[in-house]
């Protein structure tokens, strides 16, 4: 039995693992892929911390900006903690060796870390490493995990959490390589499995694997989820491939133009406002382009080398001389596993959740650019500490094999399941359905229709078996399980969106265009009623 089982090996999981290990705990990190392949690698623009290296800045301003962007439904204490931790976390990353971009200001330590402006920020606050901020933080965290001798178990797909009398006892996994269902016993569990943006398949900047597996497992184990309706659309993804063009492009002075060559929105407004403005242009029959030509090749290659390459490769345009066609797509899921102020899952003792899978109530209705990398590191450390504290007093009797046997039977059943409907086609359908009807601008009629469609898909799931009958390395099976989780989470998103008859942050509903604090300045929390099952 390990002290701490960390599920998910992105930035949040590795920060938690490193911290717990430094506290003296035995730690095992389990992930469905390899640690350095996580969504964190895709975070480009930067990581907020009020260092004030470029211009005057204060933690209080960072707190105020975050609260403003959250539109009244964040937990201000959690926001305060995260923002106050910012400079310390940069210091921690500096000591681990993160290669931040630097200023020529003659300073040492974190005082020379370069900072840039991101949307909704009142100062140049985002620390960055060119446009590879997430990648470079993630890889440095990984190097340090190797240094500390932390154990990793790769290619293990989370099936279910094991609980006993409301307390975590471990989790079951499908070993993708062998095809075996295994049980891992642990005193504390940290879930850091990422968000569920892949629900919007084909219309998301997210990797294929961002299917919300941890959130679905928490729901099944009796834990709660909240704020599931708040999904951030990133204004600038490439039109044809949905690949992300970092907000830094606008932060550095890029314009948004419509087909008539007109600017139509203040580009450094928060993402929800810019995304909606673009959507309105689409409705008016316009196309929208990102214009960074005036920044010049030298600056572009210096600040946004990755984007320039992606535009050339996937869109066939050269941003140095041409306009880049863009569209807003699903980017970040603010809601997720409902946690308390020590990041413990509401409903499961000893189980902590951190990062995009978790709803620590700091992003509220809309996340500020640069706050997600801060959250995964600051709260990743916090989750590691708290999981360690729980582990010190937790009982070390392992759970029985009930869940293991159940899951073995479930996997066997999938192999023999009817396969008359191709779930890959359904996955595409679900993505388009969500983009069109649970997207940037919502309407109750469309949401009701989407819910109906999703329920039809859930019913049809028993006919969507797997064609690949191999027991080992069965990626077909994994993708089926991921899709099942997406279908489990889909109704929670739609039902919450239907329930919220107002517009707030990323959730915008026609017919209810204003914020209605009296009725809706609150979180919509969902939990399965176990007695009713």
């Amino acid at each position: 039995m390990v002290d701490i089982l960390v599920i998910g090996s992105g930035g949040a999981g590795l920060s938690a693992a490193l911290t717990a290990k430094q506290e003296g705990a035995s730690v095992l990190v389990v992930g469905k892929s390899y640690p350095t392949t996580s969504q964190t690698s895709m975070a480009q623009g930067g990581m907020n911390a009020a260092l004030g290296n470029v211009e005057e800045d204060h933690i209080a301003s960072h707190i105020a900006d975050t609260i403003k962007s959250a539109h009244g439904i964040c937990d201000e204490n959690m926001v305060r903690k995260m923002c106050a931790d910012g400079p310390q976390v940069i210091e921690w990353l500096e000591q681990l060796g993160v290669p931040f971009s630097r200023l020529d200001n003659g300073q040492s330590g974190i005082s020379s870390v370069a900072q840039r402006q991101m949307g909704g920020a009142s100062a140049k606050r985002a620390c960055y490493a060119q446009d590879y901020t997430g990648l470079k933080i993630l890889h440095t965290l990984y190097d340090n995990c190797l240094k500390e001798g932390i154990d990793f178990l790769e290619e293990h797909y989370l099936l279910n959490l094991i609980t006993h009398e409301g307390t975590i006892k471990g989790a079951t996994f499908l070993d993708i390589r062998s095809g075996e269902v295994v049980k891992i016993d642990a005193k504390s569990v940290v879930i850091a499995t990422g968000g569920f943006g892949a629900l919007y398949h084909g219309y998301t900047t997210n990797a294929y694997g961002s299917t919300g597996d941890g959130i679905a497992a928490v729901l099944r184990a009796g834990g709660a989820v909240s704020d599931m309706e708040f999904i951030q659309f990133h204004p600038t993804a490439l039109k044809h491939s949905s690949l992300l063009i970092s907000e830094a492009a606008r932060g550095e002075g890029g314009y948004l133009l419509n087909s008539d060559g007109e600017r139509f929105v203040d580009e450094i407004k928060p993402r929800d406002i810019v995304a909606r403005a673009i959507f309105e242009q689409f409705e008016a029959g316009q196309e929208v382009f990102l214009d960074v030509r005036h920044l010049g090749e030298t600056k572009l290659m210096e600040l946004l080398p990755q984007e320039v390459e992606l535009c050339r490769l996937h869109e066939g345009v050269n941003p140095v001389t041409e306009l880049v066609p863009i569209k807003p797509v699903a980017h970040y899921t603010m809601g997720g596993i409902d946690v308390d102020d020590v990041l413990e899952v509401n409903g499961i003792k000893g189980c902590f959740a951190v990062g995009e899978c978790s709803n620590a109530k700091i992003h509220g209705a809309n996340r500020l650019g640069g706050n997600s990398l801060l959250e995964i590191t600051a709260f990743g450390k916090f989750a590691g500490e708290n999981a360690y504290k729980h582990a010190m007093f937790a009982k070390s009797t392992p759970a029985d094999d009930t869940q293991l046997q159940k899951d073995k039977a479930h996997i066997e059943k999938i192999y023999s399941q009817e396969c008359s409907i191709n779930f890959y086609e359904e996955r595409d359908k679900l993505g388009k359905l969500f983009y069109d009807q649970v997207g940037i601008v919502r309407e109750n009629d469309k949401l009701e229709h989407a819910l109906h469609e999703v329920i039809t898909m859930q019913v049809a799931l028993s006919k969507m078996g797997i064609e690949d009958q191999a027991t080992t390395h069965n990626q077909n099976l994994i993708e089926f399980l991921e899709f099942s989780n997406a279908l489990l989470l889909a109704p929670t998103v739609i039902s919450s969106a239907i329930a919220r008859d107002e517009s707030r942050g990323a959730h915008f509903k026609r017919g209810f265009e204003c914020e209605d604090d009296e009725r809706f300045q609150k979180h919509i929390v969902l939990q399965w009623n176990k007695d009713a099952q």
């Binding site: 000591q95 060796g97 290669p99 590879y132 890889h139 990797a207």
Partner: protein, 237 residues
Amino acid sequence: MKIKILRSQTNTHQEYTLPDGETTLLKALTHIKATQDATLTFSAGCRASVCGTCAVRVNGREKLSCAYKVQDGDIIEPLQYHPVLRDLKVDKQPAKKTLSTSTAWLHSFQEAAQNHADEKMSERQTDCILCDSCYSACPVLAVNPDFIGPFALTRAYRYSVDKREENVKGIIDNIQSNGVWDCTLCGECTAVCPKGIDPKMDITMLRSTSVQQGYEDPSFSQMSFGTPDFGGGGFGF
């Protein structure tokens, strides 16, 4: 358009037909899996050339499948020097072990003044996405499976030039055996890196630092300077 993919179970190249039109290899693989053959197995993640998951060999050359545009007649195979788990999916564990062996991390932190030029010292090296392309292209691994290989050495170099590292020798000590001197400087790694990193140059630089730290080229020390030797292996000429 037709492409051939090496299938592990039969060890033969299977031909697939794709709809006409420009597409990335990753999209083509996804299309095949979704509509023609669910058993075709490969790895993929971000679609944006940054997670390092989807590297394969196309016509004998390492490519990220998300960044390669498929052409008629392409032959797709898994990376070399990694155990093939199934079809295009390989075990990256052995290659990753080299990161631990080379102790590519900050050994001893010291606070340092850093500027834009310092950032540039390792900017390119820290772009590495651990896709393992360079490892697959390295001919040394064909004869010495214990060679630390290009990406781990690039990473060791990254930390060795970091002003925050107080103990550069600590890193250098751990890349002497099966490390910097085993490279043949053929440059295959550099040629295939999708991020434009030049491991060959990094290894050259590490050799120079090694010499500064008191090491010498082991093959150099075996050379004889006492009598003229023009080779020929004893056959004389």
